[in-house]
């Protein structure tokens, strides 16, 4: 098992190498860093341009430029953004932290309630609860996040404020703190996260309730459930020790993959709520053709995806003795 993990970790290096190289080429072909620079600095002199090119390794062939970038990247010299010329790492760090907080908050809520609903629905198949939760999940899945986000904003920020005659919105709709706020404030932070969090949680909840339900129903009909009942043990024990233990295996694996994908950010939701996370970071950098920001973003997202893929495999092997990692 340990050897397997080590080998997979070693594979991370060539994988990242290929991914970053391909991404670098794509960015070079799709965007021109010099054009981006000139757009941000319209009155740059010829000397400025020359200096910019040599500092950022923009001379030579694309592979040469890639290795220039790679050398700087691995030595921790992540450079400055083209727009605003701010250092890349602090901005990226904040975006990552914000996205992690929102992602874990909403996924945590969504997965917890999704699993609970799925379990109850499967245990009471064809009950009222089952049909209501199934219909609810399909409705939730068919509403895209940009619609639910706007509807929630209307209800909680506009209508609630009007109905209750509040002097400020019932729930904030944008950002993570009120303008001008400094320092950490848990209550404010949570308040600002509720609407974007709920938008994401609804989708997660819907997906997981369906998934959990299907998985548990399959287990419920399996023959070892009959064996367990034939033992004369309590129904509670049959469900917890035999049914859930098996039904949670695929769901847990799925969740590990999902959590790995969080760090890439939620481009749509973050944008609608002006939430400064990885999704917004990416979109801004992309629009500015800001490759010094795009490349590290990509490396981080790729590492997270690959690592959590590994986590999913290991968790799966841990939960299911039939899987041997080799």
């Amino acid at each position: 098992m340990l050897r397997y993990i080590l080998r997979r970790m070693l594979w991370l290096i060539p994988t990242l190498f290929v991914v970053t190289f391909l991404a670098f080429c794509a960015l070079r072909i799709g965007t021109d860093p010099l054009a981006s620079f000139l757009k941000q600095n319209p009155r740059a002199s010829l000397a400025n341009i020359k200096q910019y090119k040599s500092v950022n390794g923009l001379n030579g062939t694309i592979p040469e430029q890639y290795f220039h970038w790679l050398r700087h990247f691995v030595t921790g010299n992540w450079g400055r953004s083209i727009k605003g010329s701010t250092p890349v790492w602090p901005d990226l760090k904040h975006a990552m932290a914000n996205t992690a907080v929102l992602g874990l908050f909403s996924s945590g809520l969504g997965i917890f309630f999704g699993l609970s609903i799925g379990i109850i629905a499967a245990l009471r198949q064809y009950s009222k609860f089952d049909s209501v939760s199934s219909t609810g999940a399909f409705v939730a899945l068919s509403i895209p996040p940009y619609i639910s986000a706007i509807v929630l904003q209307l209800i909680f920020a506009v209508y609630f404020t009007r109905w209750f005659n509040l002097d400020h919105p019932f729930l904030p709709t944008s950002g993570i703190y009120p303008p001008g706020h400094h320092g950490f404030d848990l209550i404010l932070r949570v308040k600002y996260m509720i609407l974007p969090g709920v938008v994401v949680a609804i989708q997660t909840l819907a997906v997981y309730s369906r998934y959990m339900r299907a998985s548990l129903l399959e287990v419920k009909n399996s023959e070892y459930m009959r064996t367990a009942r034939a033992k004369g043990i309590s129904e509670r024990r049959v469900i917890f020790r035999h049914a859930l233990r098996n039904a949670l295996i695929p769901v847990t694996t799925f969740a590990a993959l999902d959590i790995g994908a969080i760090i890439g950010g939620l481009v749509i939701t973050e944008n609608i709520f002006g939430y400064p996370g990885m999704g917004v970071f990416f979109l801004k950098a992309f629009n500015n053709g800001d490759y010094p920001q795009l490349m590290p973003w990509l490396v981080i997202v790729a590492i997270a995806l690959i690592l959590f893929n590994l986590v999913a495999d290991v968790v799966y092997a841990f939960l299911d003795p039939r899987i041997r990692l080799a």
């Binding site: 023959e223 009959r226 064996t227 033992k231 004369g232 233990r245 003795p321």
Partner: protein, 326 residues
Amino acid sequence: MAEEPVLSLADFRVSFPTDDGDVLAVRGVDLDVGPGELVGIVGESGSGKSVTFLGVMGLLPKSAKITGSAKVMGQELVGAKKEVIRSVRGENIAMIFQDPLSALNPVLRIGPQIVEMIQSHRSMSKSAASEHAIELLDLVGIPQPKTRARQYPHEFSGGMRQRVMIAMAIANDPKVLIADEPTTALDVTVQAQILEVIQRIQRELQAAVVFITHDLGVIARVADRVQVMYAGRAVERADIDHLFIKPTHPYTRGLLDSLPALGGERLKPIAGAPPNMLNPPSGCAFRARCTHAAPQCANGDMALVAFNGSETACVRIQELVTEGAL
């Protein structure tokens, strides 16, 4: 049968409500099984063999309607409280199934699965129960039981898995062991070994065995008595020798004729198919396929009556025997 029966069915009926009406899967079965007796249940697919005994065990879906009487050691199970049924199954009556791989929980080790069976009926410490589990594995002929107890079901061969199932079923010295086609999924040599294990259990533990199969060859080797089922009813009940030498029902004759003979004679399957259990015919359900059918076969309640040391449901039995038709 001088002693009190350990399992006693009287007018046992099971039906399943469906959109098209009730499927009358079992339509009044009587059966007394004495202590330590091995009774074979034979019949074509769909004749209600499994449903009868799953019904006794309380392992049918909730929708199943069960009436009549099923007593284990004098304890009525039809209509009994869930706790009563739970305390009886695994303790006085246990069951093994056709496919031992899917009947064992894939994510739990063999030992704990047997321990669970023991501890749900005996207040025994975990270590004592584990000891007992290892003894049981030894008893059913699993080599290195101590090591094997720590393995998972997928690490066992088909025959070994069925031995594990048997070890689990006999963990609490049940008075009745129901074996639902325990050898059908196994190849012939393994089949013989499993039959031996079951016979040894019967001898050494004095457990009565109800052996369900559609293989008369298997029945011939192990059973003391046989009950032949057709369309949810018993059509003949006889000692094993009587059944093979002078069957008292045309259906039994048909089953015997369809056995492949060693001399290379072609087997003669019974023409036609069993009736639809949504609307089973009145009178003898077999008459549509019976070469000896006569008008009187459409009437009567088809109860078993004693004849020449056997019991048969055939109303024409006297005539048929006189004609030498069977």
